[in-house]
């Protein structure tokens, strides 16, 4: 493949005889994706080619947004990785419904976590006590107080959407992209929604006298 400067890439891809540059870029993206997606067993060569093709279209459509702050090929590979992982996540989570997932909020908790009688309504996914073998009695007392507070303020301080997003993303580990798709929003907006939720919870916890130092000590490691 010919080595090109950023300007040469842009000129070649915008020019009339861009086929050579397109073929080079496609080959480069496929090679990169092969390494980037090495841990995904579902990915074969045909899928890599499809991802590279989808990425090429996005790259060509977005050439004007390349600001030259990195090598052009780094920027292009970034887009290819994003395109590929978005599709792979969608595939991996395709059968999971958000309602089923967050509907389990009030389901019986795991036996792995000891909990006392239910206190207050809803959001029982936060246990009363933790079977934390590494915690001493004092630390466990702080953990218990913190969990009580957390359970209460998750019920009272957050909106339904914030609560739903928090449970799906933080408890179930669903990718933000997938939570967002199901909630009719996008990943960036969902991150902001969760950021607002975290800020609200933190502020409330501090207002209730739980210092970040205490909380980190109780849940630090």
């Amino acid at each position: 493949m010919i080595e090109r400067t950023n300007q040469e890439w842009l000129t070649a891809l915008r020019g009339p005889g861009r086929d050579g540059a397109l073929a080079d870029l496609r080959a480069l993206l496929v090679r990169g994706l092969r390494y980037a997606l090495a841990s995904w067993s579902v990915v074969d060569e045909a899928i890599l080619e499809d991802f590279a093709q989808d990425a090429l279209l996005k790259i060509l459509a977005g050439l004007d947004s390349f600001r030259g702050e990195s090598r052009f090929t780094t920027w292009a590979q970034k887009i290819a990785v994003h395109v590929a992982l978005t599709e792979l996540r969608r595939h991996r989570w395709r059968d999971v419904s958000l309602d089923e997932m967050t509907g389990s909020l009030d389901a019986e908790p795991s036996t792995a976590l000891r909990r006392g009688p239910s206190t207050g309504s809803g959001h029982r996914f936060i246990p009363d006590t933790l079977a934390d073998p590494s915690a001493g009695p004092e630390q466990q007392a702080i953990q218990r107080m913190l969990l009580n507070t957390l359970r209460r303020i998750i019920s009272t301080e957050l909106t339904d959407r914030q609560r739903q997003a928090l449970v799906a993303a933080y408890i179930h580990g669903m990718p933000l992209e997938e939570v967002a798709r199901r909630m009719g929003t996008n990943r960036n907006a969902l991150y902001k929604l969760l950021h607002d939720a975290r800020q609200r919870l933190k502020k409330r916890m501090m207002a209730e006298g739980l210092s970040p130092q205490d909380m980190l000590a109780a849940f630090g490691s």
Binding site: L28, R31, G32, L33, Y35, A36, L37, A38, E69, S70, R71, T74, W75, Q77, K78, V81, H82, A84, L85, R89, S104, A107, P109, S110, A112, L113, F125, I126, P127, L130, A131, D132, L146, L150, L166, Y170, I171, G173, P175, L176, E177, R187, N188, Y191, K192, H195, R198, Q199, L201, K202, M205, P212, M215, L216, A218, F219, G220, S221
Partner: protein, 77 residues
């Protein structure tokens, strides 16, 4: 449902380390090519671009993309 200790701890840590100036996924993505090149060059990307570093620690989607990109570029170097 199950909620293991590590998940809960991680969530609590995520809440109490929340900072007002966090950037979102779009801004992180915009800066990711520069960030990853600094990493590849052995420079202190975290110090130069602390908000990107912070976002990557909080957002699994963006972290996954960053790590995949880094793996690709390392292999192609």
């Amino acid at each position: 449902m199950t909620l293991d200790l590590d998940t809960l701890k991680q969530m609590v840590r995520g809440i109490i380390t929340t900072r007002p100036d966090e950037i979102g996924c779009d801004e992180c993505f915009e800066q990711l090519d520069r960030f990853v090149e600094m990493k590849l060059a052995g420079k202190n990307a975290a110090e130069a671009m602390p908000l990107v570093e912070d976002h990557l620690e909080r957002c699994d989607d963006c972290r996954e993309e960053f790590e995949a990109l880094l793996a690709a570029l390392r292999a192609l170097e």
